[in-house]
């Protein structure tokens, strides 16, 4: 697992193995976030709410990398705006605020407030609050 300095636990999901494109990528780190926000389907959210599309058995989206497809999207701030989009509006009922520690998994900051998250097998979401959409 390139980019991660210490031996990490197993991941919750099997991640793609490619020597030219490590997963999680170089920019991924085990780090703490007092809170990250995740669109979820249940209250309280369970580990199942943090499954990637790959784990759901969906074939990779051509506009996503294999590694991205095996991650789940989280956000640095509470942002319910994505509910304005047709698919999230239909798919998600809540947005949950969770605390993330280095033992939860690997995160990688994207542009804006988006964060990719690859949870470890031991991950149990520590939920701070759940907001109905």
């Amino acid at each position: 697992m390139a980019g991660i300095k210490t031996k990490a636990p197993d991941f919750l999901e099997e991640l793609p193995h490619r020597t030219d494109a490590p997963c999680p990528p170089e920019g991924g780190h085990r780090q703490s976030f007092e809170s990250l926000w995740r669109y979820v389907d249940s209250d309280p959210p369970t580990v199942a709410d943090f499954r990637s599309k790959a784990a759901e058995g969906k074939r990779r989206h051509p506009a996503a990398t294999a590694c991205q497809w095996a991650s789940c999207s989280m956000f640095l701030a509470k942002n319910v705006t994505y509910q304005a989009l047709p698919k999230p509006r239909k798919q998600y009922k809540y947005v949950a605020r969770v605390s993330i520690t280095p033992n939860c998994g690997v995160t990688m900051l994207g542009e804006g407030i988006h964060v990719n998250f690859w949870p470890f097998a031991t991950f149990v979401p520590k939920v701070i609050e759940v907001v109905e959409l």
Binding site: P62, A84, L85, P86, K87, R89
Partner: protein, 366 residues
């Protein structure tokens, strides 16, 4: 006007090039496709039977895309009023990953008006989770104007001049806000937009003349082929984006003719009554009540004209009187340009009757 917009020559191929993802939430939710000269498709992910990664796309102009990026409009607006009045369905699962080409099919009204497929209001570009590498639309494009009735060389010259005024105006504004424009060039633009009040009062002919002088040779509008018969056509080449802005301004002008005329008359009358049309700029109190009132009216007029007031405000150093005069002048240019269409002598529609006359005359660049 929408009919005219519909018949503008566009890239008609039933496929578009995937450019990038704008919003990613577990999967691509908003994507951007290139569909040819001045035609971009912005798509939102939808659930639709028979499609793995289905999207509804709206075909917008480059100018609309820029306005969306600058948050003048939200995403829903692009789907309700896409410039080219076309909506598409596409499945990114069918994308050719080596060429990035995606088959697109025209969506019918029951699809593009289906609320389940439309984004809600108040989703702005600031929510994007990714930036895309854009192709700068600086390439040249040829626009065909179909002509009819009697045309002599002076008429052609006048018509070209009318388009050129509007083209130079938009190109001037674009260059002023562009990071690629040098400080000297920007100074020239500021002078063109502001100095004319010193010597020409309300007559802004010089403004448009000066603007043309500031446009690079590679950016200038040029007249291409002409078929001077009845009916015939005139081809005019210029920057894709700027020519698109001219067309959009014209469509907007026709669609909002009454409101624009009312706002024009109101502003013009106010300046006339206050003898401000020819007032020496240095003697105008830019912070007074009158200036504030003019600004208020100018902003409303500018919004209706779909011209960015903020840019003009910067160009005139916050002088609301100068800005108002520029807007009035711009409106008159649109009015004069539109006259050719009202007279029935020019159309953006292809009447499909053009092929009969052999009298094709090539005219060198203007």
């Amino acid at each position: 006007m929408t009919d005219q917009a519909k018949t503008l020559p566009r890239w008609k191929e039933p496929e578009a090039k995937f450019v990038g993802t704008l919003v990613y939430l577990d999967e691509p939710q908003v994507v951007f496709l290139d569909h040819g000269a001045d035609a971009k498709i912005i798509g939102v992910a939808i659930d639709r039977d028979g499609m793995d990664y289905g999207f509804l796309g709206a075909e917008i102009s480059w100018h609309q895309w820029q306005r969306y990026k600058r948050q003048f409009v939200d995403l829903r607006y692009l789907f309700l009023l896409p410039r080219w009045k076309r909506w598409y369905l596409f499945d990114l699962a069918a994308m050719n990953e080596s060429t990035c080409m995606v088959p697109v099919i025209r969506a019918k009204e029951d699809v593009y008006k289906n609320e389940d497929y439309l984004p809600s209001h108040r989703f702005f570009a600031r929510e994007h989770t990714a930036q895309i590498e854009e192709t700068v639309a600086s390439e040249l494009k040829t626009e065909t104007y179909y002509i009819d009735g009697a045309w002599d060389p002076a008429d052609l010259s006048l018509f070209f001049g009318r388009i050129n005024d509007l083209y130079s105006f938009f190109l001037g504004l674009k260059k002023f806000v562009s990071a690629q424009t040098t400080p000297d060039q920007k100074r020239g633009l500021v002078e063109a937009f502001t100095d004319n009040t010193l010597h020409s009062g309300f007559n802004y002919v010089n403004l448009f003349g000066d603007l043309k002088g500031l446009v690079g040779y590679d950016e200038r509008l040029a007249m291409g082929a002409i078929k001077k018969s009845s009916p015939g056509f005139v081809e005019i080449a210029g920057q894709v984006e700027t020519l698109g802005e001219v067309t959009e301004a014209f469509v907007n002008y026709v669609a909002n003719y009454d409101e624009l005329k009312e706002k024009y008359n109101e502003l013009h009358s106010y300046l006339s009554r206050g003898k401000l049309l020819k007032k020496e700029p240095a003697r105008f109190d830019q912070k007074g009540v009158v200036a504030k009132f003019i600004r208020q009216k100018g902003e409303a007029f500018s919004a209706q004209l779909d011209v960015d007031y903020g840019t003009l405000d910067k160009l005139t150093h916050g002088d609301s009187l100068k800005t108002a005069k520029i807007l009035l002048s711009f409106h008159r240019r649109l009015e004069r340009y539109q006259l050719f269409f009202t007279e029935g002598r020019v159309s953006l529609d292809d009447p499909k009757r053009v092929a009969s006359s052999p009298s094709i005359v090539a005219i060198p660049d203007a």
